[in-house]
Amino acid sequence: MQPDEILDYLIPGIMLGALYAVIAIGYTLVYGVLQLINFAHSEVFMVGAYSALLALTWIDPSTNPTALVSVLLVAAGLAVSGTAGAATAFALEKVAYRPLRRRNAPRLAFLISAIGASYFLQNLAGKLFGRDSRALPTLFENKKVFSVFGTQVTILQLLIVCAAVLMMVGLDYLVNRTKLGSGIRAVAQDAETAGLMGVDIDKVISRTFIIGGFMGGIAGFLFGLHLQLSFTMGFLPGITAFAAAVVGGVGNIRGAMMGGMLLGIVESFSSPIFGESWRYVSAFAVLVLVLMFRPTGILGERLGRSA
């Protein structure tokens, strides 16, 4: 890799990192309130992408949409995928996790139920929409917007990074400034005490899933604009994003953002350095290294003190 090629890999890396960060937040939020790896979050991501595919195929955009139509289509995709992701996460919590919480089940049971939900959703999608990969209809021409030191930045990259940053800023505000946010932080710190102080734990957990699902769904749609859709598309981004959450310090929202960015950039750079086929190993290599030397993640676990 030449020094002048650095930006060629850095910019896609930032884009990928923004996506991972958004997914990682979903993991970290749920981990905060339930201390549970929500394995099915990667399927929420997949559902977001497929719902956008269904909606946009139904709208059936013409091959060359005008600028206004493009904006409307992207907005529709964002709205549909966010809603579908939120609905899936809500249903998931209701069906796969809440009954276990009622029964005070051990954490192993939660994990297995999560894996079950993940496989169920994944293969249901495989059955309904076919097991081949598909692409979203073309929503806009992926033009170059501007260039940074000779490296072109495309509309797609700009869109993904802007959407991710907006969502992260919104989430930061939500968690730190609103009533629901303090509820989430209270449950993450000590669910029992929070319950005694009058926090409706069930409602907080359910809404946490909805927020995470909303962001995961949108990430799925944005990912679908970038790559192909398939019923297993959630798996690799899902575990990479979880690794990102752990790298940043699980339960720590800003840590998840940072970890996502880091892993996205590392992954992007590992393909020219180690070869394309090894790029997915990089996330785990970073994960194992971080766990060895700093088991609580880079920013440290700060369950509940998400600021």
């Binding site: 201390q35 549970l36 790896i37 595919l53 269904l54 195929t57 139904w58 069906v95 796969a96 009954p99 276990l100 029964r103 005070n104 089940a105 051990p106 954490r107 192993l108 049971a109 939660f110 994990l111 297995i112 139920s113 894996i115 079950g116 939900a117 993940s118 496989y119 169920f120 959703l121 994944q122 293969n123 249901l124 495989g126 059955k127 309904l128 929409f129 076919g130 097991r131 081949d132 598909r134 798996f235 575990i239 979880f242 690794a243 752990v246 070869g275 086929s277 090894w278 997915y280 190993v281 996330a283 785990f284 994960l287 194992v288 766990l291 060895m292 088991p295 609580t296 676990e301 700060r302």
Partner: protein, 471 residues
């Protein structure tokens, strides 16, 4: 003495107002929504396979036709029967001794007494060693006779699916069932075992320093897997238990990608061919395990029997008791002097080496391995089998695994094999909600789970590490 108490309690009218709910807030309508949603989901699940041309094809066929109406009507009917039938039943038939008890009691009571007696007797018998040995001998004898009763196809299934998965499940049971750790990369060790067979028998592109017989590969593979298990477990087992799940998952992906991409060493996605089979060539004995599956079946029964005996001894030894202690309450175990990390590592490594043995058996039976034989799916599958059978109960795990490995082969004419993971996922959720102890639960595990339900102990080693949560 009378005191005047100020009545701070709200009046009955305000309370009633607070308690009043809209008619649709009654929980029974929630159940209606749930039933209908389940029916729609079942409709979609049983619909046709989606096509690659039209995204809407499957949804159109299952939701856009009369089928869904019948499903919903059925769900509403079921709901109505459950909601309105039950009170009616209780009102008119319930308080009496039950409608049929008058007729059934004379029959059931003696039967119950007899079964209770028989159960007590067998419990006594089970304590006598030679009865147990005799019973085991009969079971093994039946298993030896089994292949004669089946066609060649089923013999292949017996060896390739049932026996290999049972071997894997026996190993994973140590990790999940006894030590309470979730290992999602179990097949990675299976792959290590299989690829070491390929390497040491000289089938890989890289030649080994000397070739080994497949039997001699077993100890080598066990050592390799032990080492891999220790290397992976040592940094992660110190952390909270659920990190182990994600790290093993990552480890599996790394092993899979190495198998797929390290072209010069593993021959990449093309796989390795011509792995030598098991054979004994000592003095006058000259025997090779060839294409016929039946000899493999005997061999695998032998290996499984040895492992089962060893693990049963282990379960009731000091080590097994340490695992139980860690599972039930890791902090308490560590406080009473159990070196938790050491024993967790031990369980993890023992599981890994069992998986390695299964890998050797698989590679030399199939004589061909490719990265596609070691998908993450299979790791999850083994976990599901162990859970289904009843984690911690060796017999439950064996029977559950044998059943679930056999079922898809049996059902493959009626159900699309691709869909089995969908049903498996649903099965896992339902199991975890209604029967987390599994098909044939281990007595201790069952008690732990019911104690955890009441808020005592952990029932797994997934909670905080000894020393409390890290903040």
């Amino acid at each position: 003495m009378t005191t005047t108490t100020t009545d701070f309690a709200p009046t009955a009218a305000t309370l009633a107002k607070l308690r009043r709910k809209r008619w649709y807030q009654h929980p029974m309508y929630g159940r209606l929504v749930g039933t209908v949603a389940a029916a729609v989901l079942l409709d979609v699940m049983s619909g046709p396979q989606g096509s690659r041309e039209d995204v809407f094809f499957s949804l159109d066929k299952s939701l856009g036709s009369m089928r869904v109406v019948w499903w919903i009507l059925g769900a509403v009917a079921l709901w109505a029967v459950m909601e309105f039938g039950k009170p009616l039943y209780q009102r008119f038939l319930g308080p009496k001794v039950g409608p049929l008890d008058r007729f059934t009691t004379p029959v059931t009571e003696p039967v119950k007494a007899v079964t209770a007696q028989a159960r007590a007797k067998t419990a006594d018998l089970r304590r006598i060693v030679w009865v147990r040995l005799g019973f085991s001998a009969v079971v093994i004898g039946l298993l030896i006779l089994l292949p004669n009763l089946l066609s060649t196809f089923w013999n292949q299934v017996l060896v390739n699916e049932v026996a290999i998965y049972v071997l894997l499940a026996i190993g994973l049971n140590v990790v999940i069932g006894w030590a309470g750790l979730l290992d999602l990369g179990f097949i990675a060790f299976f792959a290590i075992g299989a690829y070491s067979t390929a390497y040491w028998t000289g089938a890989m592109p890289v030649d080994p320093p000397f070739k080994l017989n497949a039997f001699l590969v077993i100890p080598v593979a066990v050592a390799t897997c032990l080492l891999a298990g220790l290397l992976l477990g040592a940094p992660t087992l110190r952390l909270r238990g659920d990190y182990l799940a994600i790290v093993t998952l990552g480890f599996h992906e790394i092993i899979y990608l190495i198998a797929k991409n390290a072209d010069g060493f593993t021959n990449g996605p093309r796989g390795v061919q011509g792995i030598s089979n098991f054979g004994i060539h000592i003095g006058p004995i000259d025997y090779d395990w060839e294409l016929d599956p039946v000899p493999y079946w005997y061999l695998l029964i032998g290996i499984a029997t040895i492992l089962i005996i060893a693990f049963l001894r282990l379960e009731h030894s000091r080590v097994g008791r340490a695992w139980t202690a860690i599972r039930e309450d890791e902090v308490a175990a560590s406080a009473t002097g159990v070196p938790t990390v050491k024993f967790k590592l031990m369980a993890f490594a023992i599981g890994a080496s069992t998986s390695g043995i299964a890998g050797v058996a698989y590679a030399s039976k199939a004589r061909f391995i490719s990265p596609e034989s070691f998908l993450l799916l299979f790791s999850v599958l083994v976990v599901a089998y162990v859970i289904f059978g009843g984690m911690g109960s060796l017999w439950g795990v064996i029977i559950g695994t044998a059943f679930l490995a056999w079922l898809p082969q049996y059902m493959k004419d009626w159900v699309d094999p691709n869909d089995r993971f969908m049903y498996l996922g649903a099965l896992l959720i339902i199991m975890m909600i209604y029967r987390p102890q599994g098909l044939i639960p281990s007595v201790r595990r069952k008690r732990e789970l019911s104690m955890a339900k009441a808020g005592l102990g952990d029932a797994d080693a997934m909670s905080e590490p000894a020393g409390g949560r890290m903040t």
